[in-house]
């Protein structure tokens, strides 16, 4: 490839080989020639504005900024001579003339690029020849953002923040304002709070001086030089798996930086950078609690463990093992999920172990396993950059997977990708889209079938791929036949012209990626929706190649891993079926016990089994179903009627209030282990501090309970668990402790210690027994509940950027509630006018299941007749209203469509 062609250049007589076209400044620095520079930032395009990196190049007149020069063969460069150094010194003096070098009280003292250069060029105040201009430089000090502070007197106008915001995050919130000495960086019009800035902090990380600094959201102002240690770990929030660098002082997290590695390359969102102080919340559980006479009492571990073990043993012996059900956790590590499901299966003797993946991507696993063979993202996050077309549906990616969204935005902004958004709400990504298809909630299958109809009719399908790599086409196409653009428009409300335009775009792309999330999965037709998307990829041959595929974005940090490691009622770790005698035999031999043969209960089924008296005890590790599950009134009833409930968590959550025993767990910062991110990549979680009080890692607690019940798992460290996973789980066989600790970030399947991991799935064959991808004929089925006269509005629920899941973490941070404090409902202004509701008025929302009071805000994001409520907030929980009707295959509830009535409160 020509771009990789190496050239030879000389800098100050030193011969250097470098790829043609590379930045001269970068090449020089990579080779130990330390040319100064302040506006150059490797992650963004060069600016050439500070002029400090000027050099002489033979054959070119004058001094040229080396950051702007691309190396060419034979280039002869002078990087250092007296003249150049004198010019640099002069430039630096001019920068310093406008700079308030109050280093003594500056957070960047000791890690400031300007300070370093002033020292290097010996430019102490009394040694400067230019007078300070600070008196005439307007002072703009903007601390209106919840997370950062801007000070124009520290700003050198390099523009790195502005470019970082646009070129890395794809946001473009920042700009220069004013001119000359009055130039400064602005977000919004009047101040930072006025802008669309969402607090990701990319600008702060890019700033070379103290102009943009983090607010002390972790409680103390610190400089880098104050920090005791820096610990690289994996973010505990969403499924992207951002690598973070935690700055630790006095055993507290005091600052967080994005770490420059796969998959985030230094970027974070506002939660990862500014939302980890929940770790130090005074609300953290520190000691085991037992409920005595209706009140929680602190007890010793010995007493708590004895109590749990004896009660669980009693109930198992009295009612049988299936009278106990457990929820594992997508927040916990792979090792903890492995240990928990092993406890339920081998120690209790039931397969009734599930976790909240049931509520997010159960239908993904069901659908993608049927179509392709494995239930995971086919491709990798970074591959979005090179897709020609990205088709996003049911994913508000900028809010739910913010760093993944940066790849999608960059693909559109800088790599000519076309974006198709199919979403009932006008999400932020619509601004980046070529086509926006606003289908009615719950009509996804009809829309996708309509798109495929056009692709088929116009001959845009990949016939060779269909012939050689798939089966079931004939059956499938019979269903597609009737979804003409006209009929599709009728069902979905999407104009047929747009359907045709989107179909042509997707159908004629060389590399098209489908991206989706819970807008697709949380329906009674969730599995159908997923199958339908798989059909689209199969029809056009957009799977099994780079930058293509069907890519479910997994919600929790480790929901992929929790599924992979068997926290599901129908499969052992590695998706080995519990009904398969061979699989069972393997695990029975490894664990030395007889294992149950029948699949266990899923999340919602457990709750019903409890109210029916079949389940008598429950053990929840890191789950909060009282907020996260549909039909909360029923969940509460279930938790009240069970004889015994154990909750293991880092906080006394809404669910823990119902517990008989509460066991205090260590947070992500207090334990070792691994998470598997949404792209099947196993990432190390590094212990940074000790847990508070007597809290312990979840796997330690579960192992202790098992031991008390007479089963010794024998793990002395996380490594022992990983070793066992390597032996029992073929897709994880090669992801060894040693490789993980050596910094390898492997993607499963990785069947052997020599295997490099799998970047994208199904290159040569699908993972189904015959190796073929399977088309499924999927017809349109309406949601379980449509709006009607009594309940005329369609309610959809979802997530927002500033909170996570049931807010037990995000509400215990200083910064995040400043962005969004509590519950609200998005409602179309026309509907509000019709009902006489003012913007911000508190209204009553009623469904067949329950009712809540909530603030209605006017929003153009929803269409008239529909409303949207973030599901995070306990005091107005959307799940009081949602429907627990289940997808018949995956048992995922229909969280995305419910009929509600909106009443004014008199």
């Amino acid at each position: 490839m020509s771009s990789k062609e190496m050239v030879t250049i000389h800098i100050d007589g030193k011969e250097i080989h470098a790829p043609r076209g590379a930045s001269l400044l970068k090449v020089a620095r990579d080779n130990g020639i330390d040319i100064p520079g302040l506006c150059y930032y490797e992650k963004v395009s060069p600016t050439g504005s500070c002029r400090l990196c000027v050099v002489k190049i033979d054959g070119r007149p004058g001094l040229v900024p080396s950051c702007m020069v691309q190396v060419e063969d034979g280039m002869k460069v002078t990087a250092f001579d007296d003249e150049i150094e004198s010019v640099r010194r002069g430039i630096l003096e001019m920068i310093l003339a406008e700079h308030d070098d109050d280093c003594i009280n500056c957070e960047k003292n000791g890690s400031c690029e300007l300070q370093d250069l002033a020292f290097r060029y010996n430019l102490g105040r009394e040694l400067r020849t230019l007078p300070s201009l600070l008196d005439v430089v307007p002072k703009i000090y903007d601390d209106s953002s919840p997370v950062l502070i801007y000070d124009s007197h520290k700003c050198i106008k390099c523009g790195r923040c502005i470019k970082a915001c646009f070129e890395i995050q794809g946001k473009g919130v920042l700009s220069f304002a004013g001119k000359g000495l009055g130039e400064y960086v602005v977000a919004g019009i009047e101040n930072w709070a006025d802008s669309a800035c969402d607090g990701c902090g990319e600008c702060v990380q890019a700033c070379p001086t103290g102009a943009l600094v983090e607010k002390p959201v972790y409680g103390v102002r610190v400089r880098e030089i104050d920090v005791d240690r820096k610990v690289v770990t994996t973010c505990p929030y969403c499924g992207v798996g951002c690598q973070l660098e935690l700055w630790i002082k006095d055993d507290r997290i005091v600052k967080v930086r994005g770490y420059d590695d796969i998959p985030n390359r230094g970027s974070t969102c506002v939660k990862g950078r500014f939302g980890l102080d929940f770790v130090h919340s005074p609300d953290r559980l520190k000691y085991p609690l037992i409920k005595k006479d209706g009140k929680f009492v602190e007890v010793s571990w010995e007493e708590a463990l004895d109590y749990v073990a004896s009660r669980l043993s009693e109930i198992r012996d009295k009612y049988g093992p299936d009278a106990i059900a457990g929820l594992s956790s997508a927040k916990c590590t792979n090792e903890e999920n492995f240990v928990f499901q092993k406890f339920m299966r081998a120690v209790i003797g039931t397969n009734s172990v599930d976790h909240c993946a049931r509520l997010c991507h159960a239908s993904t696993i069901a659908g993608l396993v049927r179509a392709f063979g494995s239930g995971a993202m086919t491709n990798s996050i970074e591959e979005f950059l090179n897709a020609d077309v990205i088709f996003i549906t049911g994913s508000n990616t900028t809010e739910t997977h913010p760093v993944t969204a940066t790849y999608i935005k960059r693909a559109v902004l800088f790599h000519n990708a076309k974006l198709i958004v199919a979403d009932p709400r006008r999400i932020d990504l619509v601004d980046y889209a070529t086509v926006w298809l606003q289908q009615r909630n719950g009509t996804d299958v009809a829309l996708f079938n309509g798109l495929m109809h056009v692709i088929w009719k116009e001959g845009l399908m990949d016939e060779e791929f269909i012939r050689s790599r798939t089966e079931g086409f004939d059956e499938f196409i019979k269903v597609i036949e009737k979804f003409t653009p006209e009929k599709t428009e009728e069902i979905t409300d999407v104009p047929k012209e747009k359907i045709i335009e989107a179909a042509r775009l997707y159908g004629s792309a060389e590399r098209a990626s489908i991206v989706y999330a819970m807008g697709i999965t949380q329906h009674v037709t969730g599995t159908d929706n997923v199958l339908s998307l798989a059909n689209m990829a199969l029809l056009t041959g957009n799977v099994g190649r780079e930058s293509t595929g069907v890519n479910p974005l997994r919600g929790q940090n480790n929901v992929q891993g929790a599924c992979d490691l068997g926290a599901l009622p129908n499969v052992f770790p590695g998706y080995q079926k519990v009904t398969d005698p061979n699989a069972r035999r393997k695990f029975e031999e490894a664990w030395g016990v007889k294992l149950p043969e029948e699949p266990g209960l899923t999340v919602v089924e457990m709750m019903y089994a409890a109210t029916q008296g079949k389940v008598k005890a429950m053990y929840f590790m890191g789950e909060n179903p009282v907020i996260s599950d549909p039909n909360i009134p029923h969940v509460k009833e279930a938790l009240e009627v069970v004889e015994f409930l154990v909750v293991q968590d880092i906080f006394l959550t809404e669910t823990a209030q119902y517990a008989d025993v509460v066991l205090p767990a260590a947070s992500f910062a207090e334990k070792n282990g691994t998470y598997t991110n949404t792209e099947r990549r196993v990432l190390w979680v590094q212990k940074a501090i000790d847990p508070p009080g007597e809290a312990k890692p979840d796997w330690v607690i579960v192992q202790d309970v098992a031991r008390k019940m007479g089963y010794d798992m024998g793990y002395s460290s996380v490594k022992d668990i990983i070793d066992e996973i390597n032996r029992l789980v073929p897709i994880y066989a090669g992801i060894t402790y040693e490789r993980i600790r050596n910094g390898e970030k492997l993607q499963w399947p990785c069947p052997s210690p020599e295997h490099p991991g799998t970047k994208y799935l199904y290159k040569d064959r699908f993972n189904r027994p015959n190796g073929l991808g399977k088309f499924h004929p999927v017809d349109f089925i309406p949601p379980a509940e449509w709006p009607d006269e009594e309940y005329p509005f369609l309610l959809s629920t979802g997530r927002i950027l500033y909170h996570f899941h049931t807010t037990s973490m995000t509400r215990r941070t200083q910064a995040l509630p400043q962005y969004v404090e509590g519950p609200y409902m998005e409602m179309h202004p026309d509907d509000m006018k019709k009902l006489g509701i003012e913007d911000g008025e508190v209204v009553r929302v009623v469904s067949r299941r329950g009712e809540i009071k909530i603030k209605a805000i006017a929003s153009g994001r929803v269409y008239s007749g529909s409303v949207f409520i973030p599901f995070h907030f306990a005091e107005a929980a959307a799940n009081m209203l949602t429907n627990d009707a289940l997808d018949p295959i995956s048992k995922i509830p229909e969280l995305k469509v419910a009929a509600v009535r909106i009443e004014k409160i008199e």
């Binding site: 304002a177 977000a187 919004g188 019009i189």
Partner: protein, 154 residues
């Protein structure tokens, strides 16, 4: 004319930012663009607030803070500098009792400098609102300012 009527005249394309801002400003009796004006324009053009504010605060024809009734802009380009622009500026400062960038307490005049007006033949020069004045001397400047003052008192 309301801002909506101005916006209607333009396609929502980024290249229309400057003409839109200029025309909106012309409809404003106070002669400057308010934060709300800028927000509306930004939304119409799907641009960030900062981008719009950046342009508005950079371009000398546009104003983001209230200004005097008459805007005096003294050319500080080389030709005028050589012919005594500094003297012109000093004369105006003492005459009006304000510094560059300021507005007189009676709200009549705002004093600014500007780049080349393209009338180097009559340097040193200044422009008051739309009127160009050249071959300036301290006497002539006094007369010009006096004439604007009289116009207002009439």
């Amino acid at each position: 004319m309301s801002i909506d009527n101005v916006l209607k005249k333009f396609e929502p394309l980024p290249e229309n930012l400057l003409p839109i801002l200029k025309e909106v400003q012309e409809t404003r009796p106070e002669g400057y663009l308010t934060p709300d004006d800028l927000r509306k324009v930004a939304k119409y053009l799907h641009m960030s607030y900062a981008r719009v504010y950046g342009v508005a605060s950079y371009c000398s024809a546009l104003r983001v803070v209230p200004k005097g009734m008459h805007i005096i802009q003294v050319c500080d380009s080389p030709a005028c500098q050589l012919m005594g622009a500094t003297t012109v500026l000093e004369e105006l400062k003492s005459l009006l009792g304000i510094s560059e960038g300021e507005t007189t307490p009676d709200g009549l005049f705002t004093l600014e400098t500007t780049s080349c007006l393209g009338v180097c033949g009559v340097a040193p020069a200044m422009v008051v609102d739309e009127d160009v004045w050249g071959n300036l001397t301290p006497d002539k400047i006094r007369q010009i300012i006096e004439s604007y003052r009289e116009e207002e008192t009439r």
